[in-house]
């Protein structure tokens, strides 16, 4: 034990710093999962490297946008959602909640680390995509990609948060996350390519994956910022508000 008896609120700096340090250590332990999250985006980039395939998705910017969206979807929906569900089931959150740490610091620290993971994925995909699809984004465009990746990551994180808010069991969260992941991927690939017809193509454009993909394409080709890009931005914000709201409103710290 320490020599002086605890009498007041611990400094927020120390509380938040401790949480961030711990979550960063956990993040490092999960670096393999981050690398695995890059497999699908890289596969998409390679498999669409031909001109014909690239054109089917609306151009190289859209392909890169789609690849980033898949990477963020993988790390946020499955990575974040499952970790939160499992930690809740094991009682990790309950142990943290009996400390004087405000609850918002516990979640914010986790989300901050997830945002770092999203940034890494976005930058790596843009670099690889640029090489494969012969695009050279400017420094400004890279900055915009980072900005959009935070926004896009927030879309998928809010979906994951809603999922763990509505579903308590970690096993159920895992099952639902996989189904949702598969549906969003197929809708993105088949819908955006037009393989399922014009109706599904329109639907796919306004799914979270479609909106995020459009947004990335928009910032990678700033000379052609259309109204659809603005609408995609609004759609992303709408998803964040709706799913984030559900996730916060119904989230329970205890799985019992």
């Amino acid at each position: 034990m320490t020599s002086s008896r605890a009498t007041g609120d611990p400094p927020l700096r120390l509380v938040f710093g401790s949480l961030l340090r711990a979550d960063f250590l956990v993040f490092l332990q999960h670096r393999r999962a981050l690398i695995i999250s890059l497999v699908l985006p890289v596969f998409v980039l390679i498999s669409t490297s031909g001109t014909k395939a690239t054109d089917k998705f609306g151009g190289a910017e859209f392909v890169i946008g789609l690849a980033i969206a898949y990477g963020l979807l993988s790390t946020s929906l499955i990575g974040y959602g499952l970790t939160v569900a499992r930690d809740r089931e094991k009682g990790v959150f309950q142990r943290l909640r009996v400390t004087p740490a405000p609850t918002w610091t516990i979640m914010t620290s986790r989300l901050a680390m997830q945002a770092v993971a999203n940034l890494i994925i976005a930058v790596v995909v843009v670099i690889i995509g640029g090489q494969i699809h012969h695009i050279s984004p400017s420094a400004g465009q890279y900055a915009l990609v980072l900005l959009v990746s935070i926004l896009a990551g927030a879309v998928f994180l809010s979906i994951a948060q809603a999922m763990v808010g509505l579903v308590k069991s970690a096993d159920s969260v895992q099952a639902i996350a996989r189904v949702l992941f598969a549906v969003l991927i197929l809708l993105g690939l088949l819908g955006q390519s037009g393989a399922l017809g014009t109706f599904w193509s329109s639907v796919a454009r306004w799914t979270p994956v479609g909106a995020v993909m459009t947004l990335f394409a928009g910032v990678l080709n700033l000379h052609a910022w259309y109204s659809r890009d603005t609408l995609a931005l609004l759609a992303c914000l709408g998803y964040i508000v709706v799913f984030g709201g559900i996730g916060i409103r119904w989230f329970q710290w205890d799985a019992r």
Binding site: G17, S18, A22, L96, V98
Partner: protein
């Protein structure tokens, strides 16, 4: 330094009774300065004097020392079920207080309400004079908690877990301080292992160490010896006693009457969410040893377990 309105009693030893704000409290003299001033620290209740020896040698009553935890009319409901029903009790400073009850009696719900994990429907909880419902984080800063099933992030190593929780309580520890602390509880060699690789006894020791890393005024232990072998159990008891000797107060729940009798200064028995009685183990036995319900279950000399079963019934609870 404590400023006193009046020193009621100051023996030649290190203990004094001080009246502040109309309330008397026991303090020990932590430091004696050259200018004659004294630095006082709260005294554990076990060694605090409850009476004042008057000049003629007779004992004179002094006002009761304020408890470290005061629970009044605590009511916790889960839907239509009333898990805790208007429970009131007080834990004195430096006291080890046991909350006993069969499964589903309301022990963990009471503890969870004190910890702030569940929201009571009614009632007040004052921890060190802080309303824990209005200022939960301030109250949590003064309490150490060992949950029934402790789980830490499985990816973190023991030393990292200690650093994390110390930080959450506002205590900055260096790597050497962490190792020194782990050495005290015999886990120095496990500093780089994950929590799940520790044995049950080691996990309990670490969990208790983390619960007291900030030197809390009140320690809450939910069935701390469940699943431990006798050696680990005895070791834990001595650690609990050591914490009390350092001035800490402890509230523990347990199913072990042997533990309650050996460790607790006072025990409360709770059943169906209602507090049935609060006494010292000795007084509880004395008070109920002739109760027909107790006599019916006693085999030979009446024990705390006989009283417990006599008061709460013999049927198995799930």
């Amino acid at each position: 330094m404590v400023l006193a309105e009046a020193v009621v009693w100051a023996p030649v030893t290190e203990s004094v009774q001080v009246v502040r704000g109309g309330q008397a409290r026991a303090y020990i003299i932590a430091e004696e300065h050259e200018d004659g001033s004294l630095l006082l620290a709260p005294e554990p209740v076990s060694s605090a004097r409850r009476t004042v020896p008057a000049e003629d040698g007779r004992a004179a009553a002094v006002p009761e020392v304020a408890g470290i935890l005061q629970v009044r009319d605590l009511t916790v409901t889960y839907g239509p079920k009333r898990a805790v029903d208007a429970v009131s009790f007080e834990i004195r400073r430096g006291e080890i207080f046991g909350l006993l009850g069969p499964n589903g009696a309301g022990k963990t719900s009471t503890l969870s309400a004190i910890e702030g994990l569940v929201k009571p429907q009614f009632g007040t909880i004052l921890l060190d004079d802080i309303d824990s419902r209005r200022h939960p984080n301030q109250a949590r800063a003064r309490m150490g908690v060992q949950l029934q099933a402790t789980s830490f992030q499985s990816e973190l190593k023991i030393s990292q877990i200690v650093r994390l929780y110390a930080g959450l309580y506002g205590v900055e520890l260096s790597g050497q301080q962490i190792l020194d602390g782990l050495r005290v509880i015999g886990l120095e060699g496990e500093a780089h292992k994950p929590f799940k690789q520790l044995s049950g006894g080691q996990q309990q020791r670490l969990s208790l160490y983390i619960a007291v890393v900030h030197d809390p005024a009140l320690l809450l232990l939910d069935e701390p010896t469940a699943g431990l072998d006798p050696q680990s159990r005895r070791q834990l008891w001595s650690r609990i006693e050591h914490i009390r000797q350092e001035g800490g107060s402890i509230l523990l729940t347990t199913h072990s009457m042997e533990e309650a009798q050996a460790v607790c200064d006072r025990v409360a028995i709770i059943d169906n969410g209602t507090l049935l009685t609060t006494e010292t183990p000795h007084d509880l036995i004395e008070k109920h040893k002739n109760d027909p319900r107790v006599r019916e279950v006693a085999r030979g000399e009446v024990t705390l377990e006989d009283v417990f079963i006599g008061l709460t019934g013999s049927e198995i609870r799930d």
